[in-house]
């Protein structure tokens, strides 16, 4: 493995010292050492987006929070991953995500196999304090093979990035702004009419929620496969990695 020859330095997670590779992110390092920092938009092999803010961490005495996915390890960095403040903030962020969309787990294709659900369990969300916004968002079922339900979308943009960076098609993008922000295909035309979509399904594979699914999938039947992309992206870089190390 190429990795073995990489230069290392020492960082600590919540007081426990571990080896880190020079140039890797705090999140990558934590994952290798089974330190569980929850995250949603990050996916190994895709560019770093830093939008979900679930992976925020504290570094030493610095009051400023940083996203672990976009913070590069430094020698003797003291990372706190689980302070009371971080726990409270992460939970609030996940609650905000649940409040802004229409996340009805009970009738969702991804029920039981959902990264958002997993993160909610991780942060201890047993209810949502905020007002349900209940937006009206139209489902795009025009594609013969796949289905896009924006009600379940958390705007992590994994689909945008995988389509652009790995498949090279750039079918997906984000349109509008703020609470109206929504994923679009081609120039905001129905997905089924897209002339750029290659039907590769990578967007569906990386979706952390039930937003992108196969047509005809019933409740709880949808299993995404982001690790396939992790493997693929690594192979593109000429590396072999153990995708089990990554989410």
């Amino acid at each position: 493995m190429m990795r073995e020859r990489r230069r290392t330095l020492t960082v600590s997670f919540d007081g426990v010292e571990v080896d880190a590779y020079v140039g890797e992110s705090v999140l990558q390092c934590a994952r290798r050492h089974q330190v569980d920092i929850p995250s949603l938009c990050f996916l190994e092999g895709l560019s770093v987006y830093g939008g979900c803010r679930v992976c925020v961490i504290e570094v030493a005495e610095d009051l400023r929070l940083r996203p672990a996915c976009a913070t590069t390890v430094a020698a003797d960095m003291e990372v706190s991953t689980d302070s009371p403040r971080l726990k409270a903030y992460r939970k609030a962020i996940v609650e905000l995500l649940f409040a802004e969309g229409n996340h009805v787990c009970a009738v969702c294709v991804s029920n039981g196999n959902c990264e958002l659900q997993d993160v909610a369990v991780h942060v201890g969300m047993d209810h949502v304090r905020y007002d349900q916004r209940s937006p009206m968002r139209a489902i795009d079922a025009s594609h013969p093979k796949y289905l896009f339900d924006p009600n379940r979308c958390i705007l992590c943009t994994r689909c945008v990035r995988v389509c652009d960076e790995i498949e090279g098609a750039h079918v997906w993008d984000v349109g509008s702004r703020g609470q109206q922000a929504v994923l679009t295909t081609d120039l905001n035309q129905p997905w089924g009419t897209s002339t750029s979509c290659t039907w590769c399904g990578k967007c569906v594979a990386v979706c952390p929620t039930g937003s992108l699914s196969y047509q005809g999938t019933a409740v709880g039947e949808m299993h995404h496969d982001p690790k396939m992309i992790v493997r693929l992206a690594a192979a593109r870089r000429g590396e072999w990695i153990d995708p089990e190390e990554y989410r």
Binding site: V48, G50, G51, C52, R53, V54, V56, R64, L65, P67, A70, R85, A88, Y89, A92, I93, L96, L97, A99, E100, R129, Y130, D131, R133, I154, L155, D173, V174, S176, R177, G178, Q179, Q180, A181
Partner: protein
Amino acid sequence: MATPIDLHEVAEREREARFRTPWRTKVCNSTACASAGSGAVLGAMRNLVDEEMALDVTVVPTGCMGLCSAGPMVRVLRRGGGEHAYGRVDSEVAVQVLRSHVEHDQPVADHELDDEMPFFARQERIVLANGGIIDPDRIESYVAHGGYSALEKALTTMTPAEVLEQIRLSRIRGRGGAGYPAANKWSLLAAADGDTKYVVANGDEGDPGAYMDRTIMEDDPHRLLEGLSLAAYATGAGHAYIYVRAEYPRAVERLDRAIRVARRNRLLGRRILDTDFDLTIEVRIGAGAFVCGEETALMASIEGRRGTPRLRPPYPTEHGLWGHPTMINNVETLANIPAIVGRGGEWFASIGTPDSTGTKVFALAGDIVNTGLIEVPMGTTLRDIVEEIGGGIAGGRPFKAAQTGGPSGGCIPAEYLDTPVDYDSLRELGSIMGSGGLIVMDDRQRMPDVAKFFMEFSMDESCGKCTPCRAGTVQMHHLLDKITSGTGSYRDVRDLENLCAVVRDTSLCGLGQSAPNPVLSTLHYFKSEYDELIGVDDA
């Protein structure tokens, strides 16, 4: 290639032409006065002068004279001295001014403004020095008032490092809001590797009620070009952009024209003023997004991509436009540069306070007698601005609060009226300098309403990239809506406070990080108003 402009000759010629006629009238044709009808005033004066050759007067349109609440404004100047200012001039009054004042030397008392009033007398104008004086569309007018002399001085007698040293000595801080020392940014760009470097003027002014940058771009466009040129020279950049929001079509038009004229006169382009310095400047127009005032979102927009911020580091000076080192400065910051280079950094540092040097332009708005654009030394107290320059609260009502910094700022209550207005004092009070919007409120304003107004603004302007800003501002606005409509509870206020902390500490860019400020500052200074609305006693 055209020969470069001979600045001294142009200035001389312009000065000679100035009093070809014994009288001159200047008509403020800035956006505020234009919307109050200065076009008609200008037309009426010109018509009369055309019809009656006996009237020996030149009529000149100028940029902003400052006192927008008295617009349209007119100034009458007499050869050999003597200047009168008029306010609320319409075409009838304009004719009266020419007939009475110019023809018979009898000023029109009804509309005359006192030039000694604090609004005019207490200002110190560097950035707005040409406001109400020059014709923005004529480069000669700018040159006659010392324009481009700093650039000529820098290119012919100073090295880039020497220019940068003057900026360092001036200790000028960025006028866009955060107050980062400009010299630090400049040094980073100057030290950055690479043949291609960019400087960018940030004219995406978006705070409600603020129009400092618009006025500079519209009324003194060459000052901005000169400032940008000096910045490019000092840092080794060969290309510059001026990013202007689409809502400022007049600024775009004037800047475009100024760039064309500057090129024709070899003040831009190749071998500027016959030196080795090359620079091109292009105007880029935003698409109506407040967030594009944030550096990384602004760069994305210039590159033609969706205007959303990205993570920093890397900072623009390391990895900017198309991957090249880039420095973004606010329009007002750049408009200060010609004066700093021309008169020296130490002169500039002697104005204002030790940590906030120079002057600051404010857009005075709200429940105040004199609304308009003012420029005062940093450290002027809020009381001086409100009571002296601003003429106090309209209708004699009590002062309640001053809002600075727009949606990223806060409300300052009456007990802090004697606070000097500088970067650090405002920050200590839980507000920020911001770009210079200053909204004065009387006792009728409910502070939770003010917080809701600004939260609605932030909510609408959130780009949607990060969760806390996108979804958090929506929830904060909803809670404020409940509270201000009288259906909120103590729990809503508690949730609001918690959300403020979450959004402030976890948002990706400055828009989200500062969006809670109007709530936090009103909760801090005016908690009792929230308590009243939710039906809790002070006890």
